[in-house]
C-alpha cells in the first residue's frame, strides 16, 4: 500500500475519537499522486551504503539480536587468500576472536546473510541483488582496497568494491552470492573485484572479511 507520501506523512489514516456522548470516525486520504511523486524521487536517489560496526551495534542494542556466529560460538577467520581457520569466540564484536575492531566506522564483519536480513528488516533497508550491487557501485570513485593494498578500511574512506566482501540477496539454492571481493583479491588471486567471479556461501556463514551494504 501507500507507505509515506512526499511530505513524510502516512497516506491514509483512520481515526476514531471518543468523547462522553459521541464518537467521530475520520478517514483521511492524501492523494495517490503525491505518493507516486515521492516514490519516483526515492528511486532516483537509491544509494548503496556499507553497514558499519557502529550501525550494527545500535541495531543489536535496540533489539537484543544475537548473530549466527554468536549462537555457534565460533566463526571463520581468514588468514590470507587461501587459508581459513575456525576460531572460537569470533563474532562481530571480536572479528578475529581476540580483539574488538579498531574503529566503529569499519564495515561490520562476521555477520551472515540471516544477520544482514534481520538488520534490513529493522532498519527498513534492503540488501542489493548481485546485479544491483554492481550497478550501484559503478559511480564510486574512492580508492579500491584490494591486492593487500591496506588493512580493512573505514567504510567512508574506501570504495565499496574490495575492502570486504558484501552479502547480496541473490540466491543459488540455499546459498547466497557474495560480491565485490575483499582486500585479499587481485587479478591473480580470487578475482573478487570482477563481476564475473562467482562466490557463494551458506546463509549462516560469517567471515572476518565478509560484511554487507544496504540500499537506502
Amino acid at each position: 500500500m501507500s507507505k509515506k507520501n512526499y511530505l513524510g506523512l502516512k497516506s491514509c489514516k483512520i481515526i476514531i475519537y471518543m468523547r462522553n456522548n459521541y464518537i467521530i470516525l475520520l478517514l483521511s486520504i492524501i492523494p495517490i499522486a503525491a505518493i507516486s511523486c515521492r516514490r519516483e524521487s526515492k528511486n532516483a536517489q537509491k544509494k548503496l551504503e556499507v553497514v558499519t560496526y557502529k550501525e550494527f551495534k545500535r541495531f543489536v542494542q535496540k533489539t537484543g539480536y544475537v548473530t549466527d556466529a554468536e549462537k555457534f560460538g565460533w566463526s571463520i577467520v581468514q588468514q590470507d587468500v587461501f587459508n581459513f581457520i575456525k576460531v572460537d569466540s569470533a563474532h562481530w564484536r571480536m572479528p578475529d576472536g581476540l580483539h574488538a575492531p579498531l574503529s566503529e566506522n569499519l564495515p561490520v564483519t562476521q555477520v551472515s546473510y540471516n544477520d544482514a536480513m534481520a538488520y534490513c528488516a529493522w532498519s527498513g533497508t534492503e540488501l542489493p541483488s548481485y546485479d544491483q550491487y554492481w550497478e550501484l557501485i559503478k559511480d564510486d570513485e574512492r580508492v579500491v582496497i584490494a591486492n593487500h593494498l591496506a588493512p580493512i578500511s573505514a567504510a567512508d574512506e574506501a570504495n565499496i568494491l574490495g575492502n570486504v566482501w558484501e552479502i547480496t540477496r541473490t540466491l543459488r539454492g540455499n546459498e547466497i552470492r557474495l560480491a565485490g571481493g575483499s582486500l585479499f583479491c587481485s587479478s591473480t588471486t580470487c578475482h573478487g573485484t570482477s563481476k564475473e567471479r562467482e562466490v557463494y556461501v551458506d546463509k549462516q556463514t560469517g567471515n572476518m572479511h565478509i560484511g554487507f551494504a544496504v540500499i537506502r
Partner: protein, 119 residues
Amino acid sequence: MDETFVLRQRLKYEWRFFFTEGANATRVNYGRLRYQIGLDIPIKEDTESSWKIRPSFEWFFIRNPAEFERFSNERDFRLLAIKENKNDHELSFGFIREVYYGLNSEPQFGYLFLVAYSF
C-alpha cells in the same frame, strides 16, 4: 536533541468547510493555522516493530475567533502511544486535553480519547 529523542514540529494550514441542512442551513468556510510541537520518545524496539510515546502541544489560530466559538484559540495537549510496524503501518492511541474559549471567554475543557491507524 540526542538520537534517543526526536523533537517534532508541525505547521499546518487547513481550509475547513461546514455544511448544515434544515431551517438554519449554513455554508461556512474558513482557514485556520495549526502549530504543533512535541517529542517522540522511543520506549521499545525490536526487529518487527517499535513503540514510542509522543507528548505534544498544539495551538490553533483563526482569523476571526468570535465566529467559530468551539475552535477559537484552542490549545491541545496530546499524549499518544504509537506502535510502528516495519511495513510502515502505524497504530496509535491516547488522549487529548483541549482548552478552548467560547464567546464569553471562559476557558472550557474537553477530553477525547482516540485510536488511529495509519498506512
